[in-house]
Amino acid sequence: MINSRGKWSSPIALILLLLLLVALPAYGPSEYTVILITNILMYVVLTVSWAIFSGPTGYISLAPAAFFGVGVYASAILSSDLPLAMVVPIGGAASFILAYLVGSLTLRLRGMYFTMFTFGLVELVRNSVHWWEVNISGTVGRLIISADNTTVFYAMVATFLAALLASYLIKRSRFGLALRSIGESEEAAAHSGVNVNRVKVVMFAVSAFFMGATGATMSMRWTYIDPTLAFNIQFSFMPVLMAIFGGMGHLYAPITGATIVSLLEEFLTTKFPYYYMFLFGLTMLVVILFMPYGLEGTIEKWRKKIKAGLRSSHETT
């Protein structure tokens, strides 16, 4: 009974959440609310898509900012000629291709070497784009023909839905199983017939697709972009922090993590603009020290404790 309820509770919660989101603009909320929720959704998509690959495999990628920024630039270049519905998938596809190339070169690196590499990738792409813009395009920044807030909001909801669906389907598919077995032991996975490299590269690229799509969507909200804004390293470690804070086992965990952390960020930036980074860093240090398995881990621990408590009381009676 409990199991069957548990099985349906999260899809139902998700459908309710989506209905709420879709109906939101109809209630005439303030511009601020729409922008805030778009922002939260951006982080949710980045976190969920980061967790698609890095969650089960344990490969910590610090490259989201690179893929996000590629999406931003794809959109900046194309948005004057193409409709939003085409720009977003193209932004995603550009990131997919970059991730596929980078992934096939570097995903045989293990552990921290992969992390170091992805960390540098952001700087590489940012510096390259900067050089290109200065020397070839003859400008540093670009002006964007931006869409209105509600349109961006709906585009973000659509991206969110797509990322969620992808994450859910991948988790249930052979790919998801293969990813988890890679996380457990790469050699064992290879011996049981998993094409380890192909699975890693494809899934890395799929997760990058949604990061690129997010970037393409968000760039419509800005009127001006330059490489420093688009490839801000913050877009790399915020999703990682959010995934760690929330946990990565269940679908709800990264969503919750991203929502709470981005609300915290919003609160800190508005209340303490000068000490925001300091407080944020401190929070990060505390979270990592005291909740190494995230919210989800803490919840699971309590659940197990309660279960064990119930069982022992049954046994004694």
């Binding site: 300091f278 860093g281 020290l289």
Partner: protein
């Protein structure tokens, strides 16, 4: 032609010395203390700012402030490891979990240190001039401060090498680098040794920043990240925990940076990265690795 070649070679060597020093510190923190310290560059930035403050407001020359900065930064690193990373290491359980967690924690540290610097010194760039008179080296002209930084880095690097090879603490550090658990069983006070390494790493970052600030670069609170990246690349070039390798790697990177930035200044970071990529793919254990 010969003069031009010498110019490039010496210019590269002069930059490479500092790169090597900060990479030795980074390698110590990652190789022994097992913290991939993304905040390494922030300590470099801090070292540069401390030197600037001491020089411009108290008139302490950079070479004298070395005597102040070295123990100061060592203490910061040591204390941070003791109060934060030691408990984290215990709560993480396995070594791989600790590696992931400590790397993320160092991001938190990066935020905290960078914001502190922003609060204390503000965002406008700062700089000072010290020993900036020209010196002629085999036909090419360099400013004296850059030559001083090379000499200082080599002396510091060699001193640390001697320390590692010939003292008991050095031996304990080398043992901890190979296998922390086995070292502990052999009677090494492991938490103290790891904290020592983190402290030495912070010290080298601080001194690296000090030397860097002497070469008339502009200081800003966000300058640290690029040096973290340089340290990572040099460590991969030279092999983890290899001081000689770090110096060779530092000089190579210095040379490449010097050559590329003399024609395309915006691309030096890209060039470093291409070297990094090639090396990771061909020899992930470093140039001198087995």
């Amino acid at each position: 032609m010969v003069v031009q070649f010498l110019d490039i070679a010496i210019g590269g060597l002069l930059t490479g010395g500092i790169y090597a020093l900060i990479a030795v510190g980074f390698g110590l923190q990652y190789g022994v203390a097992r913290v991939l310290n993304i905040a390494h560059g922030e300590f470099i930035m801090l070292g540069a700012y401390c030197t600037w403050t001491l020089f411009t407001s108290a008139g302490v020359t950079p070479l004298v402030s070395m005597l102040l900065c070295a123990p100061f930064f060592f203490a910061i690193g040591f204390v941070i490891y003791r109060i934060y990373y030691t408990p984290l290491r215990t709560s993480s359980g396995s070594a791989t979990v600790f590696e992931g967690n400590s790397m993320l924690a160092s991001f938190g540290l990066l935020f905290v240190v960078q914001n502190l610097a922003l609060i204390i010194w503000g965002s406008p760039v700062k700089g000072y001039s010290y020993l900036a008179f020209p010196v002629q080296l085999s036909g090419a002209v360099f400013s004296a401060n850059r030559i001083v930084t090379l000499i200082a880095s080599v002396i510091l690097g060699s001193a640390f090498y001697v320390f590692l090879v010939s003292t008991r603490t050095g031996k304990a550090i080398r043992a901890a680098a190979q296998d922390p658990d086995a070292a502990k069983l052999m009677g090494v006070r492991i938490n103290r040794v790891l904290a020592l390494c983190f402290g030495f790493g912070a010290m080298m970052a601080g001194l690296g920043g000090l030397l860097l600030s002497m070469t008339s670069i502009m200081l800003s609170p966000v300058m640290g990240m690029q040096y973290t990246l340089i340290a990572i690349i040099v460590v991969v070039l030279g092999g983890l925990g290899n001081i000689k390798g770090s110096f060779i790697g530092g000089f190579i990177l210095g040379l490449v940076g010097y050559i590329v930035s003399s024609s395309q200044p915006g691309l030096s970071m890209v060039a470093y990265y291409v070297i990094f990529l090639i090396l990771l793919l061909v020899r992930p254990t470093g140039l001198l690795g087995k």
